[in-house]
Amino acid sequence: MSRLIVGPFNRVEGDLEVELTLRDGFVSSARVTAPMYRGFEQILQGKLPGDALVYVPRICGICSVSQSVAASRALAQLAGAEPAVNGLIATNLILAVENLADHLSHFYLFFMPDFCREIYSDRDWHAQARERFLPDSGESVRLALQARQRWMTMLGILAGKWPHTQTVDPGGSTRALDASERMKLQTRLREFRMFLETRFFAAPLEEVSALSTQKALLARWSEPEGTGDFGLFLHIARDLDLQQLGRGPGRYLSYGAYPLADGGLLMPSGVWREDGWRLDPLDCQSITEDATHAWLHQNGGALHPFTGLTLPDAEKADAYTWNKAPRLAGEVVETGALARQLAAGQPLLRAAVASGGGTVYTRVLARMMELATVVPAMETWLEQLEPEAPYCRPFSLPHSGQAVGLNEAARGSLGHWLRVEGGRIVNYQIIAPTSWNFSPRDAAGQPGALEQALAGAPMRQGETTPVAVQHIVRSFDPCMVCTVH
């Protein structure tokens, strides 16, 4: 038995350390450490509630809009406000641009480069992987960064800039669009669709989103060449059996994504359970955070975020991270694109999870499915904007009250719990997607989702640091600056 500390873990957002216990060529247990603390929850205490919209996007430079959206929903609930319909649609567009850019960055910048490593030099796809995915010279990386740069110009129009916009407002959006700007956005959407349909999928998006079985997927994308970067990923995934690697807890949380003008959601909320094979309704009252293994004050056990506290205690014994352990009715859950696809009942993802569980392969596949389904939704939303109707409605905040803002970020379920007294914030607690996925053990000793997923990861011949660990960690697309904020 030996111990190994892996870090700094790059190609994730923020700093990350993982401690592994190795036995007989496998990881037998893991502890995940978020090594940086900034204290946003402390910074927000005493602030004017509206000023949260300046601070919270700056929690995270990669999911900045997601933070703004969660805060603005909390403030809207506090005020009893409804956003203007145009503003609701514009906010969905802004959020979708960020979320899909994150999926693209994850695939090309964070996840695929690991297949260029020398440890894989004996695989038949290795040369192809290096040609496409070497970070500084890969041809696909170059084209993806180009597509991403162009894609983000949508936010120049919709949101002034990215990251850290103030356009997202509880009353809607502060940026009204005219007819010509809408056309410009349609052009940009088409360019992104082109990139996905030529370079990425090498197929129409509708062909991807209609997939319902693994068999159909593998029949269509059976070759590593001529099937886009998606096809090469599938080829590698089959060769390395990524469908069996990094199995999570088997429970999947989604708060529901993209509220629509008719009151529905593009993707529903709920908890998908592999045991029972069903979607349970979401019960936010059962969410708690446990600080047993965090360098934070314990404050009397696991607490709901309305009453939770975030206060450093750097010398605490048995602590190994700045992250608390969020739990849903005491259970460990996994969140992200896979949870959203399972809640939405997407047949291919349900079939893939039925055969192999929530693993490196299914997590990546779910993001790809989201690229294929959300771009067409955005095309529809753009059509729904009414040029001369209002984008933002006035609202007024009460002097006291409490509210919650829930959102699905690229990486999963994000919640802001806010309590106001005398016109000032008295408590602001944030649970980010990677707070769930990369949680430490709780008081009962249950390891978090990543910690469970790492157990059983194999060492390859000649390895000092198992590359499998790199794949498993990055398959969650962790955002460490959100995790501990």
């Binding site: 090594p35 940086m36 601070y55 800039k161």
Partner: protein, 338 residues
Amino acid sequence: MSTIKQTLNVLWLQSGGCGGCSMSLLCADTTDFHGHLRAAGIELLWHPSLSLASGSELLTLLQDIVDGRLRLDALCLEGAMLRGPGGTGRFHLLAGTGQPMIDWVRRLAPLARDVLAIGSCAAWGGVSAGGGNPTDACGLQYDDDRVGGLLGFDFRARSGLPVINVAGCPTHPDWVVSTLMGLAQGKLGSDDLDALGRPRSYADQLVHHGCTRNEYYEFKASATRPSDLGCMMEHLGCKGTQVHADCNIRLWNGEGSCTRGGYACIACTEPGFQEPGHAFLTTPKVAGIPIGLPTDMPKAWFVALASLSKSATPKRVKLNATSDHLVVKPAVRKTRLS
């Protein structure tokens, strides 16, 4: 590359920040990000989001720099320096090393030819130093608006320059790339930095310059609610007439800026912007007059001009100012003499 004798070796590290300046960098206006850097002679030794090397590979690289085996030309630091708790730096231990990031920065900075603070957190402390500053965050060479910070008043990089503050929250990709290009070409000296150590290439402008709301500003036709088209200085907290940055000339993400996005300039390139002493999106006033008047403008002049221009505001400008789309179009006129 005739002007470049050797590549500029760049090491990019992150600490007490959000990573948004790196994400902003990836929005640089080029169709070939890495090719652009290469052609400019900029060699990224390591970047958190852009390098294959991880874990022990990075630690070896850091040791090579410390031991003098690898030349470090530009050390780019993103995020604030977290000195707490109690001066230990425990709020950020660099993963895999068990050592405080502030110690790594103290060790590496004197070895670099130039040191760059990327973004307002690294420059002054920024949002990470907000509220009661729970982590005792500061900038590389500033603690809020006071010179000092982690590296101290007297720090000079090997080039002789103080820390170059590429401030902004986030910083603009082009501010970073053009500063690195200037260093690679040996064309960035002390005269190219402003009084706060910011590259003058962007800090000699005001956000007001090029603002699309300037006609509203001229007539003091003011927005009263978010999404209104009018000038946001009088009511909505906009500081664009005082803030150093070329955001409305060198646009963001193609054609954006804060004011074009329908919200105030909150002075994110300036030290202390995170604690303005008033609600961010409400203009503080004394006797109805905004406290923060345009830079270089005497108050009496401003008051006189404002009252004159308010009384002369065309109906079109006045009505459009409080609407989210044009309600009165400009009249069509002949523009030639005959």
